[in-house]
Symmetry: C2
């Protein structure tokens, strides 16, 4: 009988953060692709676009005028998925199938820059530090609202990720409940903390640094790596080396290193297929329910859909929806490819 070779044989890997498995089929990347191609935006964007509702000085859908902002700028989402209003509700404990509960929350939009054509990788480190300061402020302010127990900071980048405006921006959805994915992570982190009195990610990062196989970038305070259990072809995670549980606890040096690793990682992404690389990213950190949460450990997920080129993405469809997530290239191979790429943007030399 053949011995198991993780680089060649189909296998499942376990994600200890959410307690789920992923199917890995290393050999499958060889199959030809005859399916849908994504379109790539190639037009050069202007620095200011008068039709963009995020540009400084322009009017938004609700009639408000954006200020002539110069750094990151935050406003309430005009089409929020959550509302602030308090709703009266009595739970029927015996309800088996039609269980519903009102959910209160606040949704905000964070413009990363006044410049319509900029993206995260093309910004200067000090400009990214300003975005981080904005995230810190929002986490504090929203987290202080009595009924807000979780603050989800995220970015959808690129039209393939449902982003409807190329102006660089992210979002924040803050709400009463822990969302499903966060709740799952919380359960795993808590269990690990109770058993070992260290955070799960603190120990995981150490193991990854020992192995070096999946590390993409390392600096003094942060690591960017392809998780052992990554689902998306070039999925990564930025993890703080210190077990800091929220962005507001970063030291000055950690803010600088986080900005740097964000810039370098997104540069590598753009360089991979020489395109403005689409992804959804999001920060997972301590809930804001007032508890200490020593089990939480700051990390940021990047879920990029592209697989083979700027136009061919991985489809998470039939089997993935009914069964489980499936990937065609090993995390080790993806990490090696990302590691080898320069951290300087490919357009730099074209200018």
């Amino acid at each position: 009988m053949k011995n198991f070779d993780i680089n060649e044989d189909p296998h499942r890997r376990f994600n200890p953060l959410i307690n789920e498995w992923v199917l890995v089929s290393p050999h499958r990347s060889k199959r030809p692709w005859q399916g849908q191609n994504e379109s790539v935006a190639t037009e050069k964007l202007p620095e200011y676009d008068e039709t963009c509702y995020l540009c400084p000085g322009n009017v938004r859908a609700n009639g408000e005028v954006n200020p002539e902002y110069e750094n990151a700028f935050v406003f309430e989402n005009d089409f929020a998925a959550l509302k602030q209003e308090e709703i009266h509700f009595e739970e029927d404990q015996n309800e088996r199938f039609f269980k519903a509960k009102p959910e209160r929350g606040i949704s905000r939009v964070v413009c990363f820059s006044p410049k319509h054509h900029l993206t995260l990788p093309e910004m200067e480190a000090y400009e990214i530090e300003d975005i981080i300061a904005t995230w810190q402020r929002e986490y504090t302010d929203l987290g202080a609202v009595p009924y807000i127990n979780h603050v989800q900071i995220f970015e959808n980048k690129g039209s393939v990720m449902g982003c409807s405006n190329p102006h660089p921006h992210g979002q924040i959805w803050a709400q009463s409940s822990l969302p499903t994915q966060v709740e799952k992570t919380q359960v795993s982190l808590k269990k690990y903390w109770d058993q070992y009195h260290r955070t799960l990610l603190q120990d995981y990062v150490q193991e990854e640094l020992r192995s070096q196989e999946r590390i993409v970038i390392e600096n003094e305070h942060f690591v960017a790596l392809v998780p052992f259990w990554a689902i998306w072809p070039y999925e990564t995670m930025i993890i703080s080396k210190r077990n800091v549980n929220k962005i507001t606890n970063f030291t000055r040096a950690e803010v600088a290193d986080f900005a740097l690793i964000l810039k370098q990682l997104t540069n590598k992404y753009d360089n991979l297929f020489e395109t403005s690389f689409p992804y959804s990213s999001g920060i997972h950190q301590s809930p804001t329910d007032g508890d200490a949460h020593p089990e939480w450990h700051f990390h940021m997920h990047f879920y990029p859909p592209l697989l083979r080129s700027a136009t061919v993405k991985k489809f998470m469809v039939g089997y993935e929806m009914m069964g489980e997530s499936q990937r065609d290239i090993t995390p080790e191979k993806s990490a090696a490819i990302l590691r080898a790429l320069p951290t300087i943007h490919y357009k730099t030399n074209q200018k």
Copy 2:
């Protein structure tokens, strides 16, 4: 304080099949859409395409020639995600972060018809019965393989669902382990069965039939409905009324009614936006591990991505990936829209 109105206020609903919540934002469907539009295939397909590797008599990637088949035709996937080979592996029980296990399995492709241009909704009921007979045969054959404990039957329809060939076909991935989503469902079904000695879906269907709010189609043996906890805008489930736990236990009358409801549901889907409606569908039924599994109850999921038109889909991205699934239209509204649509294909009168 305002009283909770499930048709208007943001809320979360609970999915008892997988033990997860979904965020519902009824008011949000009003927001304008300026994002990506999907392309719609409008070219008329020929009945036979000489470049299609699924058409009868054509040569596939591995050099094999398809027979001149007349009904459903099954072959081994040329680029299978799973392999049949037995792999030697010793598990390290102490491994905390790098947990991986070889996975054995068989992947097959099921051509629904020799006709390149047909789709499920356009087939005759007796042709769909033939597909059901094929699924029964495959479930039996694959389930009888000693190391196969789960048989996942599914279809990806449309290029937006990663389908690379319009020739009508589905797939079957059979494997040793229960995939993640099935494992979760199994846990919930088992718990319910142990407590009530009825299947969860048997009781759920009764409640839905009483309420009538989310029923799309009902016939003697099956119900098609938008689940209370649906994630996708027009997600549906076909559930058997009888608590039959696998497709091979269908009576002759159940096969006929299942074919009919499949045809009618997919016709309604095509009629919704007058387009060949994309979706991923899949059957969940008893594992094939040799146990009796009285807790299982046959059902088929349909996850269609379209939201507003033939070209505008719902993006499950940043918040949905980091937090939880979110929907913009209530399941009750979707059900009412689907219910009102004719079960005769919109192209019928155009012919």
